[in-house]
Each structure stands twice: as structure tokens, then as C-alpha cells.
Symmetry: D2
Subunit: 152 residues, 4 copies
């Protein structure tokens, strides 16, 4: 049994992400979840901008990392929690548009570590443009392990 | 002449970062700026948390990336703007504490690209703990160049 | 016109990679080149091992980076040269097998910077396993620019 | 007790690195080892070059990664082995010079994962220039654990 077992998966991912005060603050929402794949949407807005009015790299990173973490989580043993070990993000174009969508998938699910990637596209009307690419390593926190423990 | 020339540097960095709606939303503020070095502080708060109550990796990244970008900016020719090309962040401990401080410095300032790094520490009372380490590549946008142009 | 224009592309990539003393030393060879995609093969051997007998991360990186650089090069203006700005590699399994194949492709080709990725698989008989994933930023060196100049 | 306990540490690191066929092939050698810090030297040579005659990014990466892995290893429990989980390298200048030196140190030693960094400098006569900066995550393989096991 994994966290992503059928039935209530989307609901469970939504509940998990709903506990991210950060995503609520940004205005992000879950679009879609399936085993190993999660999409999160973020409307562009001045409250998440950088100095030129584009969406701030920190906000782009936040949705990409959250989508990647959730994608990893769906493949972990039931009851496990997930933490980000590291991620790298390439910002290939200014994040300008009406909304951003981060689409994450698992590259390799391991017992301890899971490798994930996410593309972030900006949408303006019908047009779609790649603005960022993230690769992240996630760690499985076994059920019952106190998540504040210095596992790393 | 660089953006970090004496006199009004801290004021200029504060003004530049003040145009980051994202930092205002997070509750971050500039602590200190000198040529090639910038520190940004972020009080911990539920509105920037992840699912376990730690500060979200996206918020940690946002202050680390902003401090690194501002540090690079201080060494660029006067009137230049700065954009993040890519960054990598290692989250070495849960971001738990009363406040976070991102301390960034320039590793190598180049004509086009500048390499920077930032440490993020969590402070609780008198104790201080490293929670994240970022390395970022910044690109110089020459004065007069329309910053929306597809330079990358 | 790009470096990857038809006719002699594979030959040109082979010639370019043939000037990499490093690849000759490792025993690597070009498998395939098309616009934006390059594959390089490396037989496993004790002279490129690490302490446990797996292929050394440096050798895995060398073929992944070379394939990614060559893939970027095929999409650059004719006569341009390519240099690696940065890369990140995740080693998801020990590089054990008879031979490795690095398969690279361009994610986004820009005027100055090009983002690429590469997967490295280990082959043993008929079986195939992902051992590493690389993401790299390449920079275009315009024709006629002295490649030793401090462009970065 | 750690791998880096006094007495024979330099000898033990040299012995461990001596089992890296890759380093022998490149012509690299250990300069110095102390708890949490390791330096490796690599003479420049055509057999490790890229297309412009600079030292290949793969060779630069190999010594930086090996130094970082060895630095992490000195702080691991006695008998443990080390594997690289991921690294990111920024190549800030062409690797041109008579010899390269990779100087690595541990940023944070954890129970499972250890974060490290390394600078690579090129030396020509008396002059010294930074050519690369690496950040790497290492994993501890406990003594007795079969190192081919799919821990990751």
C-alpha cells in the first residue's frame, strides 16, 4: 500500500498540500494527482512578484518543489511523510503570464530517496511557454518517525 | 561605477528588494548590504509553512535567492538589472525556529554571469543552526536592455 | 544555419568529440547524433572505476556532460563553440554493468544559454537500468570569439 | 570512532582513493587530508582535455567529487563507505593552467546524508585562479551493508 493508492488519492494530496500555509499564501491550488504525477497551478499576481513584475523565483520554486514532493509522496509506503533533500531549478524565461502550472513526475522511486522533476509553464490565453525546470531529491520519513528528528 | 557604490547602497538594495511583492508577502526584510554581501531576515510564521509546520522550502529558497541576487547586483555596472539563471538548494535540516537569516555572498563576478552562494540559518533564542545552503548563477541585464527580452 | 545542419552532422559531432582527449582516455564513443539529441557510449572498465568497482561518478559525468554539450552545439549558429556553465547530476544507482549510454537532449535553446538534460543507463546483456540524470546549462561561444576570453 | 581518526588518516584516504581506477587514469593524487577536509591535485594534460584544450569538465568534476567524497568519508563512523547521491558544479572559468587542485570540506555531516563543497583552482606558476565550485550530497553506507544493495 502506498500513499497514492486509489480511491481517495487526489483528496489526500489536496489535504496534505492544504497544510502548506505557504501554498495558501501564494494562492496555489492542486490541479491533478495520479501515482507519481502531480500538477499545481498558481495565478500570477503582484503579491508574488520580483522587481520586474515577473513571478518571483521563490514562488516558481515553491509550486515546483511542492508538486515534486507530492508526486514522490504518492509512491511512498502508506503513512510515510516526505521532505525535500535538495532541488535545482533552471529559470529559462521570465515567469510572465496569467498563470503558472507546475507539472511534476517521479524519475526514480527508491526506498530512502526519490528523484523527481517538474516543468513550470506560463499560460497567457492559449499560449504556453516553458519558464522553469526543477530536479529534486525527496526523502521518505517512515510512519511513526518523529518528523523533527535530525534524520538528515 | 557599480550598483553597490558607497553612499546609498543599503538604501538602493532595500528599494530594489521592496519591489519584490513576494518578499513583502513573506514578511522578509533586508538586514545588511555591502559590496558582494547581503543578508535578509524572515520571521517564521504559519502563513509560510509546509505540512509539518516548518518554514516551506519555497520560502527558504525565496530569501536565499533574493539575497544572492541582491549580492550579485551590488557588483554589477551601475544601472544593470539582475535575473536568476539557476539555483540549487540543499535543505540540511528542517527550517524550525523563530526566524531565518539568509546570508549571501558573491563567489565570482563575471561580465555576463555571476556565481553566488547563501547560507540560511534558523535562530531560536540564542541558538543558531544551518538549515540550507544555496548556490546560484545570476545574469547581468545591461542598462537600457528591455528586461522582458528573451536574453536567455 | 546551425552546427547541426544535415549532411555531415554526425561526422561533425564525432570530429568535435574526437578533440576531447578525455573521452578517448575513458574509451567513450559517439553512438548517434541528430539536431538537439546526442548519445555517447562508454564500456565499463577498471581504469574508470571508483573504490567499489562501479564506474566513477566523474566518468559518468564526463559522458553525460559531453553528450549534453554536443546536443546543445547542434542547435547553435554555424561555427559557434560550446562551453558548460554548470551541471547537476543525480546518481540514482551504482553504475554497474557492461556499458553505459548517455542520452542527451536540448530542453530549451536560447541565444546565449541552452538548457539540456541527459539520462545515463547501464546495460548488462538485455537489461537496462537508469543510473544517473544530468541537467546542464551550456553557453554559446560566437564564431570568431577567442575561446579563452573570460566570457563568463 | 570515525574513518578520519588520527594516526593513519592520510594513509587510509590515500588507500581508499588508490582504489579509484579513475583517479589513477586521470593522473590525480592526494595532497592532504584532515578530518572533514581533503585536497586532490591533477596535472593538466592533453589526455584529459576537451575540444579547446582546457581540462575536460568531467575530469574537473572527478577530482572535485572524489575530494568531497573523501572529506565526507573522514567524518563517517569507522568502517563505513561513501557514495555520491548528487553533485552540482559551476564552471566559472576555462580550466587552463599547469595543474588543478580540488579543495573539499564538509558543510554538514548528518547520520545518513552529508553535505560537502569543493573549490577547484588552476595554478600556473605562482598565479592561482578559481575555475569551478562543486556542492555534493554524500550518503553513508554502514559497515557490513553490501554496497551493491539498492539503498537509493
Amino acid at each position: 500500500m502506498t500513499n497514492g493508492d486509489p480511491g481517495r488519492m487526489t483528496e489526500l494530496v489536496r489535504e496534505m498540500l492544504g497544510r502548506h500555509g505557504m501554498l495558501v499564501t501564494l494562492g496555489a491550488r492542486l490541479l491533478r494527482a495520479s501515482p507519481g504525477e502531480v500538477e499545481i497551478e498558481l495565478p500570477a499576481s503582484p503579491h508574488i512578484s520580483q522587481q520586474n513584475g515577473f513571478v518571483h523565483a521563490g514562488a516558481v520554486s515553491a509550486i515546483a518543489d511542492s508538486a515534486a514532493g507530492a508526486a514522490a509522496w504518492t509512491m511512498m509506503p502508506q503513512g510515510s511523510d516526505v521532505l525535500t533533500v535538495e532541488f535545482k531549478i533552471n529559470l529559462v524565461a521570465p515567469a510572465a503570464g496569467e498563470r503558472l502550472v507546475a507539472s511534476a513526475r517521479v524519475i526514480k522511486a527508491g526506498r530512502t530517496l526519490t528523484l523527481t522533476e517538474a516543468d513550470v509553464h506560463a499560460f497567457t490565453g492559449e499560449s504556453k511557454k516553458l519558464v522553469a525546470h526543477l530536479v529534486a531529491t525527496m526523502i521518505t520519513m517512515a510512519p511513526g518517525v518523529e518528523s523533527r528528528s535530525p534524520v538528515r
